[in-house]
Subunit: 305 residues, 2 copies
């Protein structure tokens, strides 16, 4: 490992710990202003869905993108990252439901509707989505109201019908009618790309960066999102190749097209290298400070788990 | 009908038309900034869930509470009302799901999961909840960022685990373990009370009213919320009495306690009159201007549909 990648791993771990602690605090039994009671079973289900020890890649991107502009109010970046992670976790809880992808396990644990019940899982997802906007707007997030408003709007757009929720709808439709290349690109840009792009742009918003820097981080986020999805599809195929003894075809066979399935593994590996290089080019204006985000793009492109 | 109640009915109708038009515009196929595409089927399901011609009581309360403080930016109050209605409609779409209350019909139309499918209904609810915060934060809502931030926070608290979503969790639990009087009061204050209270307080926030006025509208909202729920429970019983030929017992029998079931119909009718009078007293400092909101409390307490 290079010193840059060791630093990256350390920062990934320490940021994940900050976000985990922040989420655990937000999901405690204590009432916030304006709340009447926090029903125990729902709270437990929400905690099950949110405190699952993930890599917390999206909050990491918020925090490190904000850090690009100097020290800044780090705890606010952690809070915005935690808000974004609530949206990500809500989407996992709902996507796992029987009516959606019907998954029983996530990260080796029973999914929320298995550990509790379907109704509670639906409400747990709703609660996490609502909480995301609570966290951004709360007084404890020390940002100007202008910045909070921008964050609320950008997060709602990234998560809504033109972003993640719409992407999940396209994904459900793709099981019946396999989309072509353009359709896959749109689906992935919405389903996984929109939140990752928001993560990077949110860092710039938190730091009140100028429009040019914000635009660069937005494009960096799009590039990382593309790499994230492509690596995911490749991983799906590779893991499959090892266990099933055949290299291609599973995704095609079940009618869920991926770019890897359409264009092949070699193309995907070349494209991942290109995307990591593009991310580096986009960050060049920020100089050495951007080292950690350059390394992040490499990590996302090369990840094998 | 008194002239006051005729005016009330006219305003209820004209406000509902404004909100309906606002929602129809927001739920059109046109992309907003930051959106990639709006999947057709999901958009149709969202429209089915939101454009259902309801009374739009919650937006009405926002608009009329704001109007108490002068003309103000009426279109912003309509937008905030539309945002709140999105939250209300999302809760109906999710509550109707098979895993929740399993209802096939709402306002004489098939519920969203019946007209489309469960997965799409889950996503349609998620989309409406997300859209609520989009609407408040969007530039088209001409309010200061401070006011927008206050609205986002208050709405998230009213809708979250300490408010509506938590109330629905308590309601699910109540089917297994019938709560006592205190439990019913908490459940109802959260499940239906929190959004109605928010509606009235939001009017004051939109108008940037002082803390005292805001407190009065908050208490007015609590009073209207209590009356709304009590009238609902009474209506449930009365409708039942007509069709079933017995006056009491259905709610108790199915284990879902209501205050009417616990304390009787006479008590409920007396209490509704008290609540309407309390609402009037709370609004006395606002003078004649508050006539429409006084009438609203009477309407809510006396409604028989």
């Amino acid at each position: 490992m290079t010193s840059q990648s060791i630093l990256f791993q350390q920062r990934l771990k320490s940021n994940a710990e900050s976000v985990e602690a922040m989420l655990a605090g937000l999901l405690s039994a204590g009432l916030q202003a304006g709340e009447i009671a926090r029903p125990e079973r729902l709270l437990a289900a929400v905690r099950h869905g949110a405190l699952n020890g993930g890599k917390r890649l999206r909050p990491f991107l918020v925090i490190e993108a904000a850090a690009l502009f100097g020290e800044g109010p780090a705890s606010s970046a952690v809070r915005v990252g935690a808000a974004l992670e609530c949206v990500h976790c809500y989407s996992l809880v709902h996507d796992d439901l029987p009516a959606m992808d019907d998954d029983d396990l996530r990260r080796g644990q029973p999914t929320v509707h298995v550990a509790y019940d379907e109704a509670t899982a639906i409400l747990a997802g709703d609660t996490l989505l609502t909480l995301a906007f609570d966290i951004i707007a709360a007084p404890e997030t020390v940002l100007t109201d202008r910045i909070k408003t921008e964050l609320v709007l950008a997060l709602a757009r990234a998560a809504g019908i033109g972003g993640m929720a719409g992407g999940q709808a396209l994904d459900l439709a793709a099981e019946k009618n396999a989309p072509g290349e353009a359709g896959i690109v749109t689906l992935q840009a919405m389903k996984t790309g929109a939140l990752i792009r928001f993560a990077c742009e949110a860092g710039a918003i938190v730091a009140d960066a100028d429009a040019e820097a914000r635009g660069l981080l937005r494009r960096y986020g799009e590039t990382v999102g593309l790499a994230f999805q492509l690596a995911d599809d490749l991983l799906d195929l590779t893991a499959d190749a090892q266990t099933m003894g055949k290299a291609t075809g599973k995704d095609m066979a079940r009618g869920k097209g991926t770019l890897v399935a359409l264009k092949g593994q070699d193309w995907a590996e070349r494209r991942l290298n290109e995307l990591a290089a593009e991310a580096e080019t986009l960050l060049a204006p920020f100089g050495e400070r951007a080292g950690i985000l350059v390394e992040t793009a490499r990590f996302v492109a090369n990840r094998r788990s």
